[in-house]
């Protein structure tokens, strides 16, 4: 329902909040980043790598932003690649980057193995990695948030002993 300026004015006078749909279609850093990735610009120096099955939607991107923000990590420090860009993994160094694989199905495709000493997995190029539910799953089944929260805290803790 569209309100006239007079109606907005009247509601404002009465102290009634006016709610509108969130305009979140604007490009956020990760989305811009995804565009860059498709042009072949992958920043291998980022400390965090997220591997997804496919490009993120606006809602998924917003959720990813919130997830990393909740552990004080800015999306500027996160590189997002899709499974189509998996060859790019070789460019990342296990000394600098930790990966988060979104989705069990994707993790099976990546041929990951358990780490000998740490509570995490390793990708073929030895990058430490954790697996979490996909963002799509998380949006459709919020009960998966528990697992995601545990994984994201583990991810943060994994970074601390390794690099600090």
């Amino acid at each position: 329902m569209k309100l006239s300026p007079e109606q907005y004015f009247a509601l404002d006078l009465m102290g009634i909040p006016v709610w509108v749909s969130r305009q979140d279609e604007r490009l956020t850093p990760a989305e811009s980043q995804n565009e860059a990735e498709h042009n072949g610009h992958i920043d291998y120096s980022k400390p965090w790598l997220v591997i997804t099955e496919e490009l993120l939607t606006a809602a998924e991107n917003r959720l990813l932003n919130a997830i990393f923000s909740s552990i004080d990590i800015k999306l500027d420090d996160v590189m997002v690649i899709t499974q189509q860009q998996i060859k790019a993994l070789d460019g990342f160094s296990a000394d600098k980057t930790i990966a988060l694989v979104l989705g069990e199905t994707l993790s099976q495709k990546l041929n990951m193995r358990s780490h000998a000493a740490l509570p995490c997995k390793q990708l073929e190029n030895c990058l430490l990695a954790l697996v979490s539910p996909s963002l799509k799953q998380l949006l459709n089944q919020p009960q998966n948030k528990v697992k995601m929260w545990q994984t994201i805290l583990q991810l943060r803790n994994l970074k601390a002993p390794q690099f600090d």
């Binding site: 509601l11 006016v18 709610w19 917003r62 959720l63 919130a66 909740s70 948030k145 929260w149």
Partner: protein
């Protein structure tokens, strides 16, 4: 409206914060509760007027949810719109974090706070039986939530 100045709570502020907490609540948090929140990396804010500390908020971020764990205004400054200003600040934080929802719990007997939350768009989500300690046994807690999915541009009267 008097402008609040906002700063981050530090360990050294806990004594002052706890004084306000004690003055404002029948069952206040302990100093240890505040210390734990700081150590756990929760977002903790102080609000001052003319360099006088008049309130605080404690917020936990869990993925895309913002949990408002504590919000408090010094008794002398209550009823002057500062609670609404503090809540607005928390909503700004939530929007900045691209959170999907803000949730909080409030005593079922605390009508004044519930009125504030309802006027800011919060809805009752559920009741937690016997959630709070009370003078006589336990008191129910009301879980309230504000979905941010519909919130990009609040009315001028909100933010």
């Amino acid at each position: 409206m008097t402008e609040l100045s906002i700063s981050q709570m530090q360990l050294a502020d806990i004594d002052k914060v706890w004084q306000i907490e004690k003055q404002s609540n029948r069952f206040p948090w302990t100093k240890g509760n505040f210390e734990d929140c700081l150590k756990s990396g929760y977002r903790t804010f102080l609000y001052s007027v003319n360099h006088e500390l008049i309130g605080f908020s404690v917020v936990q971020l869990v993925l895309d949810e913002i949990h408002l764990l504590n919000i408090c205004v010094k008794p002398d400054y209550q009823g002057q719109g500062f609670g609404r200003q503090i809540l607005n600040h928390v909503l700004e934080i939530a929007l900045g974090q691209t959170a999907a929802i803000v949730v909080l719990e409030v005593r079922i007997s605390n009508f004044r706070a519930q009125q504030l939350y309802l006027s800011m768009g919060f809805n009752e989500m559920s009741v937690r039986r016997g959630y709070y300690p009370a003078e006589q046994g336990r008191e129910d807690g009301v879980l309230m939530g504000l979905e941010l999915g519909m919130l990009s541009q609040l009315g001028q009267n909100l933010l």
